[in-house]
């Protein structure tokens, strides 16, 4: 069952004025969202969503996206609410996109977590939507360091 997990700040938590959706400039309490197709249990109180960090001095445009490091986050889940679709199997066939929506309300509780560097990426044909030709073209481009790009 696929789960949409939203981590939200509880009320009266620090930094509210900096939490903004960049495309709309609307303030938000959303801290992070996970799309979880694993069969692992949903987060419980005490869980800390992963935080992604950018250390400017370490940022390499050809290697990193935005973040250079990650760590166990400073926000801690305080309570969890779950919602399930009214009709899991849609009338027109197929099933709803998510089998469960999980809202995790979080409290700011900073810890001394270690920063870990983002690992090397693993490129696969799936990243090209199964387009073998495009994938092989990309592999070929990597052999020539001049033409190589991410």
């Amino acid at each position: 069952m696929r789960k949409y997990i939203v981590f939200r700040a509880e009320g009266r938590q620090p930094g509210w004025e900096d939490r903004m959706l960049s495309h709309t400039h609307s303030l938000t309490r959303i801290l992070a969202e996970y799309f979880d197709s694993s069969d692992r249990p949903i987060p419980q109180p005490g869980y800390r969503p992963t935080e992604f960090v950018r250390v400017e001095a370490e940022h390499e445009p050809n290697f990193h996206g935005w973040s250079t490091h990650y760590k166990t986050g400073d926000w801690e889940v305080a309570r969890v609410e779950t919602y399930t679709p009214d009709i899991p199997n849609l009338p027109e066939g197929g099933s709803s996109e998510f089998g469960m929506v999980v809202i995790c309300y979080c409290r700011y509780n900073p810890i001394d977590a270690a920063l870990k560097p983002m690992p090397d990426r693993q490129v696969s044909i799936d990243g090209f939507g199964g387009d073998r030709e495009a994938y092989e073209r990309w592999l070929e481009s990597q052999k020539d360091p001049q033409a190589a790009e991410v």
Partner: protein, 141 residues
């Protein structure tokens, strides 16, 4: 009263001896900075007043002179319980596709600079491609 006085004198003497030896020892310790930093900034002097979570600020405040290295024990302790894998894609759609296809937890999608691979997804855990879905040579990349 006498016993209290005795104990106090004893403590004072012991502490004096300890201080004496510490001072003696200090003379034999090279306290000059021996650091990997090109700037010769005392690493401990920078770190001491700061919390590890202030790391980006530390780097900024030292104009990026402190390198972060995977083997730098001061900052990068290994937590075996949490790992991230990265899988780039040409479109964010394929990020979600892989998450559902392989039963992964997708924690984040970031924009990449490249012309071909434009989205970088962060997946929870050390991911492996289950063999049934996986063409033989796909993991050579």
């Amino acid at each position: 009263m006498r016993s209290i006085l005795k104990a106090s004198i004893g403590d004072a003497l012991s502490w004096g001896l300890v201080s004496f030896f510490i001072k003696k020892l200090a003379r034999h310790i090279d306290v000059k900075p021996k650091t990997i930093l090109s700037s010769q900034v005392r690493l401990d002097a920078v770190i001491a007043p700061l919390h590890q979570n202030d790391f980006p600020k530390v780097v900024n405040s030292t104009l990026g002179l402190i390198p972060i290295r995977p083997k730098n024990p001061a900052w990068l302790r290994y937590d075996p319980d949490e790992n991230i894998s990265r899988h780039p894609a040409t479109d964010d759609e394929y990020c979600y596709e892989m998450e559902t296809k392989y039963g992964w937890t997708l924690k984040r999608i970031e924009k990449l600079k490249g012309d071909t691979l434009k989205a970088d997804r962060a997946i929870d855990g050390k991911t492996e491609f289950p063999q049934p879905f996986h063409a033989q040579d796909d993991d050579n990349a």
